[in-house]
């Protein structure tokens, strides 16, 4: 198992190196990070020359990248165009985004298991048909439009209730002060709609997968033999079938983490969150090489860690993997 994990980690390193170089080179070639500074009246040429020197704009891109890697290896992700250290900047925004993502994933899994197993147990029932229609519709719905729909629904809901219950703008109310509890409630109110959007999108594909996996297990010979031994159906399904039917979903969820983070970027734009999505778009628009590359490395690392966690869960559930 340990060897398997180490091999997985070793495979991830070239992925991060290659993709970070691509992002570094593309953002570096996209534009002049000091364009805004240059266009501002009254900025001394010496200031621009100094900033240009600090950002090493005169050096070739591969050399700048290698310098960046050398510092990144020691945990220093450089500074942004405005001179802010990148690592804390990214961590601050990552915290905001992960709040939504780490809540949406379990929510999506729970929904997918309920719908998937439910419709597999009763094929062609009302639940099965409703689940099929719902997941097909959700798979076909772009996440940014679904976010817009839910935002609109949230506004209407608030109007109907007469006060703001679910917030539709931002990740927290500006300038909120008070007890720890008041702040938690405020953040929870802001979390509802974005998290729901992300969870629904993830749930759609997973529930289809869970349905197919459950049907497959229900037809497996060991389940037939459990039935033939006269075990009550409840025990056959609950104990024998379900445990194995839930395992494959773990792998699917793991492969979807990157896509979910990508979806979070769009959800954040709709709900005007200041998380990783905003940070990336600002970095790309401002040709901020260090922020964009740091963004990529940090998100890729998060995905890799989440993937490893999923592998561990998979191994814990499936002895064939654990002992391999």
């Amino acid at each position: 198992m340990a060897r398997f994990l180490i091999r997985r980690l070793a495979h991830s390193v070239p992925v991060v190196v290659v993709s970070s170089f691509l992002v570094f080179a593309m953002v570096a070639a996209a534009g002049d990070p000091l364009a805004e500074l240059r266009s501002r009246p009254g900025v001394a040429p010496e200031t621009i020359a100094l900033r240009s020197e600090q950002l090493q704009l005169h050096k070739p891109v591969p050399e700048r990248y290698l310098g960046w890697v050398a510092r990144a290896a020691r945990g220093d992700l450089g500074t942004s165009v405005t001179g802010e250290p990148v690592a804390p900047l990214i961590l601050r925004h990552l915290g905001v985004t992960l709040r939504m993502v780490l809540l949406a994933v379990p929510l999506g899994v729970a929904g997918a298991v309920l719908i998937g197993v439910g419709s597999a147990l009763r094929p062609r029932s009302v639940l099965d048909r409703a689940g099929t229609v719902l997941s097909m519709a959700l798979v076909a719905t772009p996440v940014f439009w679904l976010a817009g729909l839910l935002k609109e629904a949230g506004v209407r809901f608030n109007e109907a209730v007469g006060r703001t219950v679910v917030f539709t703008v931002g990740e927290r109310s500006p300038g909120i002060e008070g007890s720890w509890l008041a702040m938690a409630v405020d953040r929870a109110g802001h979390l509802v709609l974005p998290t729901l959007t992300l969870a629904l999108v993830a749930m759609a594909g997973w529930s289809r997968f869970q349905r197919a996996a459950t049907i497959e297990v229900l037809h497996a010979t060991y389940v037939e033999s459990a039935r033939a031994r006269g075990l009550p159906e409840r025990r056959v399904v609950g104990v024998h079938a379900l445990r194995n039917a839930l395992i494959p979903l773990t792998a699917v969820v793991a492969t979807d983490f990157a896509a979910i983070l990508g979806g979070a970027v769009l959800v954040e734009v709709v709900f005007a969150w200041r998380g990783m999505g905003r940070l990336l778009l600002d970095a790309v628009n401002g040709s901020d090489v260090h922020v964009a590359t740091g963004w990529l490395v940090v998100t890729a690392s998060v995905v890799i860690v989440l993937n490893l966690l999923a592998d561990l869960v998979y191994a814990a559930l499936d002895p064939r993997i654990r002992d391999a």
Partner: protein, 281 residues
């Protein structure tokens, strides 16, 4: 299985047929509209912010654009992107996936790492960064289609690789090897025909993915550039007006969802036409 059998089985799949008919109809309508009023989607009328009417079936925006023509034009662009991406990604993915599955070794390692890349790095990020670099170009939809192909092919390669891997030690392959067939011949004549079902289903899925990625990029302002309308940008501009002029937000979104639903239905139809008889799944 002969192609006529597949066609007959596909035609029995009602929603799949409906998907083909609807998409063909949409594309034809957009083409006709493009012929009748070549710059109709760009024309500024004096009907500002009008609700849907006979004159403007989907209403107009604040500066008098006819939303129906804009949506048609945007849908056409999305479909063009989908077709280009699917052709490029399917050909590349099939060839490289088959090579990886059959040859193994370093070819397999390189292709597997590329697949990992797409599973580790959010695809939208690669596209956002590349789009920022390339957005000044003309014919932006073609560039976007190329970019999406680059991130879309590993998915198909993965499917093809898995199919080839499961078949390459079967006796008919050993027999072909024994008869002295070249690797290329074995891949194209013996192995790939067995992967047609898997390839065509993932190709249809790729179409939907391409549409979703193109519109997402345009939604962020990095996709199909003005003056060409894109469904993604229409949704983005309609968002702010969802309250006062709901048609600007809902119509582009509904058309977008319908396009993706059609692709999903076609995929289901192909799956049932090409797959084994299995009514329960």
């Amino acid at each position: 299985m002969g192609s006529s059998v597949v066609a007959r089985r596909f035609l029995r799949h009602r929603s799949g047929v409906l998907g083909v008919v609807a998409l063909t109809g949409l594309f034809a309508l957009a083409t006709v509209a493009g012929r009748v009023t070549p710059a109709g989607h760009r024309r500024l009328t004096t009907d500002y912010s009008q609700a849907p009417s006979l004159r403007h079936p989907m209403g107009t925006d604040a500066i008098g654009h006819d939303l129906f023509l804009q949506v048609l034009h945007g849908a056409q662009k999305s479909l063009q992107v989908a077709v280009v991406v699917t052709v490029l990604a399917t050909v590349t993915g099939t060839v490289l996936g088959a090579a990886a599955g059959y040859r193994g070794g370093w070819v397999d390692s390189v292709i597997s790492r590329l697949t990992d890349l797409v599973l580790t790095v959010p695809v939208i990020v690669v596209l956002v960064v590349a789009a920022a670099r390339l957005r000044q170009q003309r014919d932006s939809w073609l560039i976007i289609a190329l970019m999406i192909s680059v991130v879309a092919w590993p998915q198909i390669a993965r499917v093809v690789r898995a199919t080839v891997l499961s078949l390459r030690n079967r006796s008919f392959v050993t027999a072909a090897q024994g008869l002295g067939a070249s690797s290329a011949r074995i891949i194209f004549v013996d192995l790939l025909p067995n992967a047609v079902a898997a390839i065509s289903v993932s190709a249809t899925l790729t179409m939907a993915t391409a549409v979703l990625l193109e519109t997402a990029l345009s939604f962020l302002g990095l996709g199909v550039s003005a003056p060409d309308p894109s469904l993604g940008r229409l949704v983005a501009t309609g968002q702010g007006a969802a309250r006062t002029r709901p048609w600007l937000f809902y119509f582009p979104g509904i058309v977008l969802v319908s396009i993706c639903l059609c692709f999903a239905a076609i995929g289901e139809g192909l799956r049932s036409a090409l797959g084994p008889d299995d009514d329960e799944r």
